[in-house]
Symmetry: D2
Subunit: 458 residues, 4 copies
């Protein structure tokens, strides 16, 4: 990778002044917090370089240096061996520069609150929600005085050209309607809608369009924020990131993806099916081009079969017609606006939605945890959704994540305890993904799990 020996940047707007205390909290070079920042900084600078290969990233990281230097008007970052792709004519691309300072801001803020005992209360549901809100607010991502118009787009980051162009067209139509975009800030279905929206906003002469990236330290290296992102927030972990998506957005569009996308859908349905949430308006659209209609056909069948017909009331499937997707989302958001106005609920943050603790707390994909899941209909649909999400989370890990693969290698396939029908459904869905080329595979697909029929009489 081509790098730039030496460069310096100064923040423009996204960074408030830091106290000496706060700078000290990050700058100790051996400190975890500093290393976290260094990793995120490189990830941000690495945009556009494919980094599925961690070893490449690791090599770059070893050579990469960054220093925080106090200055009269604020601070300066001195950087060694940054990827050349982050620069044009030896000047850092402004969008990337801002991400760098956003990363610093969020890490300083979160570190400051976490390091000093008890400031963030991660042991209670309201405490976690409060932290998600305050990190987002500090990042300027919670906006007062604007009407609802933030659409979250989910979907795969390695998608076909057709799917990419489709996501872009949907983004364009959303932009034409004045809607803004938030994504996980990688490529594919996350980049397409933003680029489309930029053009749509341009045609509407909207100069303050929002392209929000919501990330977390574990994922940012593999999904570097595209410089189009003009608001970036880094939450401390994946569960808080998911909660930020759900509470900041006024509607969600899901594009085709892989098992990870299925996991996100199960997370969201599990929440929307909670008693108390079911009557809250929450526009959710599954959208795919004609050529990819199979993806949602399979997912829809799976959902219906496992969570029941009732789940279907929470989403709409649209095949083709980006215009129809945008119109439907626009109408959905109008009903969100009416609801929040009527009930005096904030436009900027969805406080109303109840998110149970088991969706807020991380799930570790171990054999023991997997064995504890109850994949049967003896429990409520939303509880089953929670366990299904965990199962998919582990399957993703067992297939592609270093620690998950190691776990499976050592102890054999995960043992899923569930009834036969649900097991068959999972199998069907995943084999469909394999057929559609949505699973990253080396050679033959070998499932990393086995289903053990459980005694459902208990």
């Amino acid at each position: 990778m081509k790098t730039l020996a030496q460069t310096s940047v100064r923040p423009t707007s996204s960074l408030n002044l830091l106290s000496q205390h706060e700078i000290d909290g990050v700058t100790n070079a051996n400190d975890d917090t500093f290393q976290l920042f260094r990793r995120c900084a490189l990830a941000v600078l690495n945009t556009g370089n494919d980094c599925d290969d961690y070893s490449t990233f690791k090599a770059a990281l070893d050579a990469f240096e960054i220093h925080i230097v106090p200055e009269p008007r604020g601070i300066r970052l001195d950087i060694t061996n940054a990827p050349a792709s982050a620069f044009v004519n030896n000047r850092m691309i402004r969008g990337i520069e801002e991400h760098l300072f956003s990363a610093l801001r969020d890490i300083v803020y979160t570190h400051h609150k976490m390091s000093m005992g008890g400031r963030f209360d991660f042991d209670s549901g309201p405490g976690i929600t409060d932290a998600v809100f305050r990190i987002s607010r500090n990042a300027g991502v919670v906006k007062p005085n604007t009407s609802p118009k933030l659409v979250v787009c989910w979907g795969g980051h390695a998608v076909s050209r057709i799917e990419y162009e489709y996501a872009k067209s949907v983004g364009f139509e959303l932009g034409l309607r004045g809607l803004n975009i938030a994504t996980g800030c990688g490529t594919g279905a996350m980049k397409g809608p933003m680029k489309g929206a930029v053009i749509g906003h341009g045609k509407q002469q909207i100069r303050d369009g929002r392209y929000v990236g919501i990330s977390e330290p574990g994922i940012i290296a593999s999904e570097s924020p595209n410089p189009t992102v003009n608001e970036l927030v880094i939450l401390p972990d994946i569960e808080k990131r998911l909660e930020a998506f759900v509470r900041l957005s006024h509607g969600i569009i899901v594009f085709p993806g892989g098992a990870g996308t299925a996991e996100e859908v199960l997370y969201l349905l599990g929440i929307l099916m909670q008693p108390g949430n079911t009557t809250l308006p929450f526009p959710l659209i599954f959208a795919a081009p004609q050529e990819s209609a199979d993806y949602f056909r399979g997912l829809d069948a799976f959902i219906c079969h496992t969570l029941g017909e009732a789940a279907r009331q929470h989403y709409e499937i649209i095949v083709g017609s980006p215009e129809q997707v945008a119109n439907s989302m626009y109408k959905g958001i109008e009903s969100v606006t009416r609801h929040r106005r009527k009930h005096q609920q904030s436009y900027a943050f969805n406080w109303e939605l109840m998110i149970p603790m088991d969706f807020q707390q991380p799930f570790k994909p171990t054999h023991k945890n997997m064995a504890g899941l109850k994949l049967n209909r003896s429990q409520s649909a939303h509880a089953l959704a929670a366990d299904l999400r965990r199962a998919f989370s582990a399957i993703v890990a067992g297939n592609v994540k270093a620690d998950g693969i190691a776990e499976v290698k050592k102890h054999g396939p995960f043992q899923l305890s569930g009834d036969a029908e649900i097991a068959a459904s999972i199998d069907n869905l995943l084999r469909g993904f394999v057929d559609q080329g949505r699973m990253k595979l080396n050679g033959q697909y070998t499932p990393c799990y086995e289903v053990v029929q459980a005694d459902t009489s208990t």
Copy 2:
């Protein structure tokens, strides 16, 4: 064409308040000025619809009504049967709305100055230049207090996907370098660079990127401004439009096109080769993707053969590498900046360039005028360039424009009086365009001209 029965729009910013006098000058419905505005208004609204077919446009025009209504805070336009494509959810796309009022502004201004005897002096060179400046200034397209960074892009409007994507990539790289784009505001090579620049500016967090459209009433119907255009100016005729391109820009990139593009290149070279202009820095790049390298190879050979080796110092040919195109233009503009600073010349308008009257005044493609051209080397290269431009202008007309075709039908092919070599060069070039599919043809290509060997001894 789907239309909207009834709609009203109000100007936002691009229209100054009109005096009653000025409104009266346009609103008389039988008046030429009003009909001109009505035609331009429909053209602006018609964006995205292919209108090479004039009869479709004519039918739309018959049904189309527009009225200027004075209001307390400014004026209002009442519109009947506007193309539905100009609207999203029954609201006019903001970019289009602004074009509508830009058209009104320029027509009011030009009409006002022209209708009242002697205000614009179109009979002298400085008078024409003054008018071009003042119309542009009134349109807000001449910007004080900015450094040079406006790049004009020329090229065909019906180009291949590869050429379109290439132009877009060049625009993206220009945008990344903070450069702005001006074009003739149609599709193809005119739309591509703008869309690319929007994304490039987005990455640099540039919110005041300029996408300038420079048009004239005769061309606007077939080249509706793309809504991305955020500054539109309508000059009164094609020659003033060409002068506006040349004086407003700080550099020009030519993409592949047809005979029309060749004509523009000859116009520009004719000016740059004028004694007095030859030492002025004026970055001019011919840029094409690898697949279209032939276009400029042919054009370059033709130029060299007719105008001589000396012409080549005025342009650079780059094949592929959008990055290299942008870097070269960036450097060229740096030298323009240095030159203007040193000589206390305006950044905003190139007053220095001498444009001879025969480039400022329109050429009518008649047999008599064509017979009068001297296509031989007995005259200076820049004078030959002027006559070659006229020849190409007539050839374009004889091939595709209604009046030109009629003329040829009635009187037979134009008789070009020139020496044999130049005639062969013209023939070669045009046959090359035919082979590359760049000439709009019905059936076999039949040249609309014949070369008569002239007595070059005179």
Copy 3:
């Protein structure tokens, strides 16, 4: 007067780019237009220095030099021997700098339109109105998209401390209500309301308050615009300036002044009493502190006696209570807004008001012209108002203006032909002004006019 040997300034925003033509039109140093600009420029720079003494100004003018220098980003002014009071730490006060370029802008514009035969039509009423509109629009003083809120304040420029503080308090209350101020831009009753409004706007956190100065070349030297003025327009003569006041404002407050103020009041009443204008809402308030109640008592009696009771419906007299003045004006402007909205009349410029030609054309104070006035009740009230205005205009001239004094010295007092009662009224009013110390006198007051009883039977 302390001066600065050498200094240069560049325009910030108020000056559009000039064409070479336009610069040439002003820069010829022997040209009337250039001398006009030079005089205005010194006047603008001279703010704060008392210049009732013309000889001081003349001496300063002789030493003062100014040059317009073209530059890459616009133009530059090189200045020699500017008054030191226009500078702080050797940098020109920004407000003054902007006035300098405003003066240049208006003189260039007006010169350009006038010098080229027929552009402004000063021979017809609508032509004059059109010119007033276009000069104001070019100066940015006609604002689109704002609701009515511009209050013109008239009154003496040499007033007592109490009257000054009162005018300031009124301005403060107007500012608190979000209203803006326009004046003739000198000191006294013209400066007070602006300074008050600045504080009022500050308390309302209004950052775009307007402080409009409306001047003309003949008066600007003696009434230099206060730097608080952030919009300055220079009309070509006094009548166009008065028309600009009346058409740009949404209401007028008159503070105590001298004979000149009486003249302005007669001008306005003459217009408001025109048939056709009488039903148009036009808030007009005569406001004085308790201590100066006499001024309007006398003026009111005079008006009632000469123009009749009907004149009284056009104004309201308020003594004391700045708050009441502001509230009354606020309500008056509300009815202006309602009226204009209902009748689709522009908020920005009062096109509706009919101003007869005899109010638009200048009156020369000669014995012949004075003898021709008909100061009797045989004519309509508004025609009488017009002649009374002329009489006061001449009396002001005969008392204080160089040419008027010379005229009287040479030919004896003006002969006013009027009926006895009206003559007595005039005498009464003026003697009252003398008693109140409102007439600039050297020694004993000797009237510069005599009343000749006319044959009113004609």
Copy 4:
């Protein structure tokens, strides 16, 4: 006091969105925090009403109600019985409205940090400084990216017309030089400079002038922020407020005041005379009109006599000439800028200045504490300054503050233990103040203290 029965306001910009947690933290009506906010809110609304009389304020407070109501776009305040003076035409003055939300913001922020154990560390010097910084930053009063230009003005709030006008003139000259003003935000010497600066900024067309008010809950009721204040921050107590003054400012001007002003001067000199601080540039000017030259003559003599000649190097005394005051401050700030640039010190917050703990921690004016002061030269000058400040603080309290007066009534005069000379100096200074009418007295002046000659040999 006239009040408005019922009114509602919504924040514009100064309030970020609150979390439910934060709203809950304030809205419990019996809570101390809520009562604190209610008191501050009334004080803010009470601007312009003289409230030296606490009983009037108390009566108003009993009737006053305020409720925080969550709304879709933020929050709303419902208010009952607000002082009518805060409104114009039944709409709250915008400046006051913003102060209301500033008060809420600061109280929420400080409460949140303080209530949750350990967030602010008030037990260490750096901890207190960190808290002062963070409260100020959260209030937006610490500005990044601006060069040093904030001048703090201190002085009496009940001053003569001449002193008020003088302070205003100084403010005007500071404003003309682009400098901004911070004060304790009451009337008199705190209001004058702001009003002057508003006019000065107006002349320089500066639209982003800063008028910073720095207050604390104990003082805000008697010194309501003038609505001109466009940035308000409320620190938790008087010591943190003083530290905010010193660390945020780039220079301080002291106008004549009473014993309180003397106390502030002693605070500042005590800090500036600390070893380590003495070489830091810190422009400090004592400025008075000719008529009040005595005030600083007396103070200067006292300082010199008690703290020694060395103290004099830290301040400059200017009598008259507002222009000279502004020029001297301007130059002083230039050297501050140079110093901070050279040493890479923040422009926005003076981290460098060492403030000893005994200046950061509150002093309670009890007989015991007073007896403990060492008013003799056995200690260093800066330590003596600290004890002198405490003595003056207690004298102010014993003279005018409710609890101080009660204390003296109960236990008799405070016993000041000091050497004879210093005791005489204090006496002299205070009697001078009495002679100048600077002490609020009922009848004869009876000192609330006695000097007991201490055994200095210890």
